[in-house]
């Protein structure tokens, strides 16, 4: 192995640090394990924490079923019952389903794609701690006797200060918003990892199908979560500051909350379903011994589902008095989404029919998934029909439907996935015999519980009632449903026992124990911390089936790029996002406490806000900002070239649009744009449905708004000029242009704020929303200013060498996005000024 250029002094390893290849990738020992950034450590933490939340939420479900086992029961009082079902839904949807699936994705994606780690390991650690602390905040509400009790959807006006005094709704809004940071960061991380770090030759066509599912899911999270984040912030602002976003007496509308919530809430169902379906599409070919039937069909279906699932949100609002024309539009989209769903199911059934399946435990769960999810899908088609939906609305029929979709579509594949990938976590196989019992108990228990609920619902039992009178035809059905839930719980308990038992007593897992075709089984379980000594080129979607040499040799002897140690750094290959051709060497961070400290700062910010200790919130914000600055203040390695083996001379990092940094920033911009669009949607919605209230709002000042818009254009232009100067290695001009970008951003924020001088945010919902747009745009501009000044400081401190212009390159992208937001906001203000807000 030759080195094309002498390594620079800084190699990333500290003085005296173990620089062997294994040592560089080693997981820290003792307490320092908390500073680990490895995708496998972080992924496992997501999985285990998510499962712990699942057990808590499952226990709450058993309390609900116990309360409903007989009519007139007093096992729980009414308030506790409300808290229990609210927390059950909240934990399951926000703290279990999405995080645990993201955990599997974080763990598996690099192994499947031939990468040594995710591209942004520190972001993974930061996301995990945000999730953990956010979850603890939500759960701690029980300790303060302030558990949320307004349903997992927190509808207004029930959740406003007038109807829910105290802190219960605040625990929900603040804790969940904090935990959602993890979902969004994981989405950006996964998009970038899938597009930018794959094995040589792994074009998008040759990606394992699981990666397609996760890629689309990650895009859906990036677009789907922002409406809820914005909704939660607006509702918390209404509760905390009295801003009347949802107050109908001041021009607000409770339905705006429902729109924002379900703009997130419906895609969320698919965000939960798609990764689980991806697991099924990965496991099934292994047990059939044939590749997935109709890879192209499946990709088309997943992409279609990703889009169409955003057109269904109002089918949760069919009973709110929307115009029939709107209902028809959403009914049509709700029906259409069955087409791509059906295609996926047919792909799986055709795969099943193409060979002779081995009836292993994961396979049983796949069959369970197919049968249960299809029933849930069919009742979904029924609910897409407006007349039937009106009939079944808020009844136990809907409860049965959603559990068929979510437990069938997600929990069954998940438990199957645990059995399938357990060797990765423990190095041992779980029990086939106990696994069959687990499946049997879960399948029988689930169907006894929920199949009957269809009938309970059709007999008129409403959801969320704490008890019911006898003699309405619900008694026996509820009794049986409760017994079924205990059987289902017994299955879960047996699964937990089997998992822990197998850690000590399970048979040692051989290399590729199931005979799978995907790369995560290249090494014997447990695979080493670096995933791959050498990253092998791949020629098909099932490399372990089609490239026999991969399994014939010892795993560490497999030929590939990046063999062995390079510079005492954690490194992997960066690739062209489309073709998968190796483009550059990606240098990855070593274990660090910084992301954890940033998350702690954020936890302080959120927790102190909850406790109304605002000075402490400020301290938390400062800690987080300082941690982010330290995070970013590392020497750049760009501009060095290395021989990566197999004829590849690769630079460290590339400074163009294919760079992982740029792809990640585009992903982040997607999130920011979705947040901004949610606010604009809110503004236009209120303006459109409440013309009377809008007419009473004072007009913004046109001149200052227009000047602000011009400054927004200037921000974009200055950012672009900074990029050009940086690419030409013109140090002085780049610094000046960075400062100019910052100055224009400050001016834009100031002018937008000044233009709203006459508008009082406390007297009208529309005025409050205008100010919310300014606040959000100001926040983005603040980030831009921080970044521009940071870049200028790094240049002034001589921390930037020739060819190391990635931060300035990316500044331009952020500047253009921020500039666009300013221009749109200014245009809305000017339109309001000249046309009159009303």
């Amino acid at each position: 192995m030759t080195v094309a250029e002498t390594p620079p002094d800084y190699s990333g390893a500290h003085k005296g640090e173990d620089k062997t290849f294994e040592g560089v990738w080693d997981t820290p020992k003792g307490l320092r394990v908390l500073s680990s950034v490895s995708h496998r450590v972080v992924g496992r933490r997501f999985i285990y924490t998510g499962f712990a939340f699942f057990l808590i939420a499952g226990f709450l479900a058993l309390l609900v079923r116990t309360q409903l086992i007989v009519p007139g029961n007093t096992f729980l009082d009414l308030e506790t019952y409300n808290q229990v079902f609210t927390m059950h839904g909240t934990l399951m949807m926000f703290l279990f389903a999405i995080p645990i699936l993201e955990g599997f994705a974080v763990y598996l994606i690099p192994l499947m794609l031939g990468a040594r780690d995710l591209i942004f390991p520190r972001l993974g650690q930061f996301g995990y701690y945000c999730y953990l602390f956010g979850g603890i905040i939500v759960l701690s509400s029980f300790l303060f006797d302030a558990a949320p009790d307004g349903g997992w959807f927190m509808y207004v006006p029930l959740s406003t200060q007038a109807h829910t005094p105290g802190l219960s709704a605040d625990f929900w809004l603040i804790g969940i918003t904090f935990a959602e940071i993890a979902s969004v960061t994981a989405a950006v991380e996964l998009i970038t990892a899938i597009l930018c770090a794959r094995a040589p030759g792994m074009s998008l066509t040759k990606m394992p199908i699981f990666a397609w599912y996760i890629l689309i899911t990650a895009f859906m999270i990036a677009i789907g979560f922002p409406p809820l984040i914005i909704g939660s912030i607006l509702l918390e602002a209404e509760r905390l500051l009295g801003l009347p976003f949802f107050d109908p007496t001041l021009g607000g509308d409770p339905l705006l909350w429902q729109h924002l919530f379900w703009l997130f809430g419906h895609p969320e169902v698919y965000i939960i379903f798609l990764p689980a379906a991806g697991m099924v599409a990965t496991m099934l070919p292994t047990f059939v011994g044939k590749p997935l039937f109709g890879y192209g069909f499946a990709v088309a279906a997943v992409v279609s589902m990703g889009f169409i699932s955003f057109g269904l949100w109002a089918h949760h609002m069919f009973a709110t008095g929307l115009p029939i024309l709107s209902l028809s539009l959403f009914s049509a989209a709700s029906t259409m989404v069955t087409v791509p769903t059906g295609i996926q199911i047919f792909c799986l059934i055709a795969t099943l029919a193409s060979g002779r399946p081995r009836l292993t435990v994961p396979m049983l769960f796949i069959l369970g998934f197919l049968s249960i999810f299809v029933i849930g899908g069919l009742t979904g088609v029924m609910l897409a029909s407006v007349p039937f939906n009106w009939q079944a609305h808020d009844s136990y029929f809907v409860v049965a439907h959603l559990h068929y979709v979510l437990i069938g579509g997600m929990v069954f594949p998940l438990i199957g996935a645990f059995y399938y990938w357990a060797p990765h976590f423990t190095g041992r196989m779980m029990s086939e015999r106990l696994g069959r019992w687990v499946f049997g108990l879960m399948f029988v228990g689930f169907n006894v519980t929920f199949l009957l609920m269809h009938i309970t619902g059709l007999r008129g039992m409403p959801r969320r009632v704490a008890t019911y009178p006898e003699g309405l035809g619900w008694d026996r059905l509820n009794m049986l449903s409760s017994i079924g839930s205990y059987i289902l719980a017994a299955g879960i308990v047996l699964f937990v026992y089997d998992f822990f038992r197998s850690r000590r007593h399970g048979p040692i897992a051989p290399r590729n124990p199931w005979g799978a075709g995907t790369l995560e089984w290249l090494y014997p379980p447990v695979a080493p911390g670096f995933n791959f000594h050498a990253i092998p080129p791949v020629h098909s979607r099932e490399p372990l089936w089609d490239q026999p040499d991969l399994l014939e040799a010892e795993a560490h002897e497999v030929e590939g790029v990046m063999h062995g140690l390079r510079d005492g750094r954690r490194e992997t290959v960066g690739c062209d996002p489309v073709s998968g051709a190796p483009l550059y060497i990606l240098r990855l961070p070593h274990p660090t406490w910084v992301p954890m400290i940033a998350a702690l700062g954020m936890a302080l910010l959120f927790g102190a806000t909850l406790a109304s200790a605002y000075w402490l919130s400020g301290v938390g914000a400062v800690i987080a900002l300082a941690a982010f600055a330290v995070w970013a203040w590392e020497p750049s390695d760009s501009g060095v070239t290395r021989d990566a083996g197999m004829g590849h001379d690769l630079p460290v990092n590339v400074v163009d649009r294919r760079s992982h940094m740029h792809v990640a920033l585009v992903g982040t911009m997607l999130v920011l744009m979705a947040l901004f669009a949610s606010l604009v949607f809110g503004l236009l919605y209120l303006w459109n449905i409440r013309p009377d209230a809008a007419a009473a709002v004072a007009r913004p000042e046109a001149l200052t708004a227009g000047l602000g818009g011009l400054c927004g254009l200037g921000v974009a232009l200055a950012g672009q000029m900074t990029r050009r100067a940086a690419l030409a290695d013109r140090f002085g001009i780049t610094t000046v242009l960075s400062l100019l970008t910052a100055a224009l951003a400050i001016a834009a924020a100031g002018l937008l704020g000044l233009s709203l001088g006459p508008v009082d945010p406390w007297v009208s919902a529309l005025g409050a929303t205008l100010w919310a747009i300014v606040a959000f745009t100001g926040l983005v501009l603040f980030a831009l200013v921080f970044w521009a000044l940071f870049n200028a400081a790094r240049r002034t401190a001589r921390r930037v060498g020739p060819g190391q212009s990635m931060p300035d390159f990316n500044l331009a992208t952020l500047a253009k996005g921020a500039g666009l937001m300013v221009v749109v906001a200014a245009a809305l203000f000017v339109a309001g000024a000249y046309g009159g807000v009303g």
Binding site: F297, V299, G311, L325
Partner: protein, 104 residues
């Protein structure tokens, strides 16, 4: 653009066309049926027809001119994605043709 990149574009185009079409139809319905009643129903239908024709053209482009080369699987994905989204665009617009107004 490489053949593979063309195929990826062909897969994404119908989805983006559907998203734009859905937003357009939703905006037209909102403009017509909310309290402000900015436009009347015939205008909604006329605009929706134009939007639907454009969206269908974009979706069917991926069906009739699925780019060759690179991968048969992705060509199939572009073809079927185009068909699914074309159908979905028709479904979006169907209510506007079937109903004579906002319908209460």
């Amino acid at each position: 653009m490489s053949p593979l990149a063309r195929q990826i574009t062909a897969i994404a185009r119908p989805g983006l066309a559907w998203a734009a079409h859905f937003i357009a139809i939703y905006a037209l319905i909102s403009a017509s049926c909310a309290a402000r009643a900015l436009i009347d129903h015939p205008t909604v239908v006329a605009d929706a027809i134009v939007a639907t024709v454009v969206a269908l053209a974009l979706c069917l482009w991926s069906v009739v001119a699925a780019p060759k080369g690179a991968s048969a699987d992705l060509r199939r994905a572009a073809f079927w994605g185009g068909l699914i989204f074309a159908l979905a665009c028709l479904a979006n617009a169907a209510a506007l043709v079937l109903l004579q107004g906002c319908g209460g």
